[in-house]
């Protein structure tokens, strides 16, 4: 029991050190030696948990994916109308990307590995399936147009999220991901929201973006 806890603490320390290094100098430039040094571990300790740099990356992708999906689900299982939850949920995920180191590193690794890594491929497929299902519900609820193809909308939403994250990390070190997410929703909503609901969602999005922009003056 004690041994297990100690082993888990070691593993955690390795993951944290790797995440730090990947975020500082990038995955390709980071060697296993750097990680061992940062974690103050022996080579043996690292190899006991991970047999390669890629298996370490896979663990980070999986953990990031779990955190992000859980954050999204905790929003979308509420009693709010589905499309409201989806929009709000994407903001919460984006917020996590800019505040949570593991989530951020995992997403970047996801991009680096893409289809060449099972965990990465699973993560992409999971998000598309999730968004497709939510799209179907939002069509049922009348907020999205009835003539839409749920799969196509699901893929578009996931693509926009990933694209906004990519642009944010490529041009501003991830700092403005929330503003980019708000802008992509603004472009996308008129294309998919039903006529009756559009003005409501305009306002919904404006309020959401305002809440996620830095507060002007705290009182």
């Amino acid at each position: 029991m004690v041994r297990q806890a100690r082993s888990e603490a070691t593993r955690r320390k390795i993951v944290t050190s790797a995440v730090e290094l990947f975020n500082e100098i990038g995955y390709p430039a980071t060697g296993l030696g750097d990680i061992i040094e940062r974690a103050e571990m022996t080579k043996g300790a690292l190899y006991y948990h991970f047999d390669s740099k890629e298996s370490l990356a896979t663990a980070i992708i999986e953990e990031a994916s779990t955190r992000l999906v859980e954050a999204f689900r905790s929003i979308t299982t509420s009693s709010a109308p589905t499309l409201e939850s989806v929009i709000h949920g994407v903001f919460v995920v984006a917020d996590l990307l800019s505040t949570d180191q593991i989530a951020r590193s995992g997403t970047q690794l996801l991009r680096a590995f893409g289809e060449f890594n099972d965990a990465a491929a699973r993560t992409y497929r999971g998000w598309v399936a999730e968004m497709t299902e939510r799209t179907r519900q939002a069509i049922d609820e009348g907020d999205l147009r009835a003539d839409l193809d749920p799969q196509a909308v699901g893929e578009t939403i996931v693509g926009l999220m990933l694209g906004a994250e990519l642009l944010a990390s490529a041009t501003a070190a991830g700092a403005d991901v929330l503003a980019r997410v708000a802008r992509t929703w603004k472009v996308l909503l008129p294309a998919i929201v039903s006529q009756e609901s559009l003005s409501y969602f305009d306002e919904f999005l404006a309020r959401e973006s305002m809440r996620h922009s830095p507060a002007p003056i705290a009182d």
Partner: protein
């Protein structure tokens, strides 16, 4: 071994609470007899007295159990990080849905009005509600939805009174009517403390919540 025994005792306690809630949700406090509860819970008199000394002790336990559950679901709502006023609206709809379809929730509120009035529990529990609502209302002022000069504490007390009055004057067995009544009350009170340019959006927000709630609520 003791852990196992404890767990069994907890299960029995919950079993009695549920059976009692089924009764208190449908009948007034004075009309419910301990024998009805015993028969429904399928436990012995001994087991019942081991956990609850009297009908009154049982009623207080239901009120407290329900208050704890409600606190947890409000915390969950707060974790969604919506705006303060949207959270307040969501809380009232959540309370209504549970009052309509959940025996423990219904019994808890019924008992709060009857036994709770005389033994101080009502003041306690409603005081907690008002404190919790007021904290969210203060956030709504910071969000800029509530007017600067409104008192969050008064808004909180108004909303608590609004719901407790609604469950008396409307019909808990008719979700459609109760939820529409809740919507109308919200629409009526909003202009009293919300900034004028936010009212249209919030009215729509409320209508949309009613539609979802009607689909979700199933009466006892």
């Amino acid at each position: 071994m003791t852990e196992q025994l404890d767990r069994r005792a907890d299960t029995t306690r919950l079993q009695i609470l549920r059976a009692a809630s089924r009764q208190f949700a449908r009948k007034s406090y004075s009309l419910v007899s301990l024998d009805d509860i015993l028969a429904d819970a399928e436990v012995t008199k001994g087991a019942m007295y081991f956990h609850f000394r009297s009908k009154h002790a049982l009623a207080s336990a239901i009120i407290e159990h329900r208050a704890a559950v409600a606190r947890a679901s409000v915390d969950q709502l707060l974790a969604r990080k919506l705006s303060g006023l949207e959270t307040l609206i969501d809380i009232t709809y959540l309370v209504a849905i549970e009052d309509i379809g959940d025996e423990i929730a219904r019994a808890g509120l019924n008992l709060l009005e009857s036994v709770g009035r005389t033994d101080g529990l009502q003041a306690d529990v409603l005081g907690q509600w008002v404190t919790a609502f007021a904290a969210v209302a203060r956030k709504a002022v910071r969000d800029g939805d509530l007017t600067k000069d409104c008192d969050p504490e008064s808004v909180a007390r108004l909303l608590v009174s609004m719901y407790l009055g609604l469950r008396q004057t409307s019909n808990l067995a008719d979700p459609d009517r109760l939820l529409h009544d809740l919507e109308e009350m919200w629409v009526l009170v909003l202009p009293g403390f919300v900034k004028p340019d936010r009212v249209d959006y919030l009215n729509q927000f409320i209508k949309r919540r009613t539609a979802v709630a009607i689909k979700k609520a199933t009466p006892l």
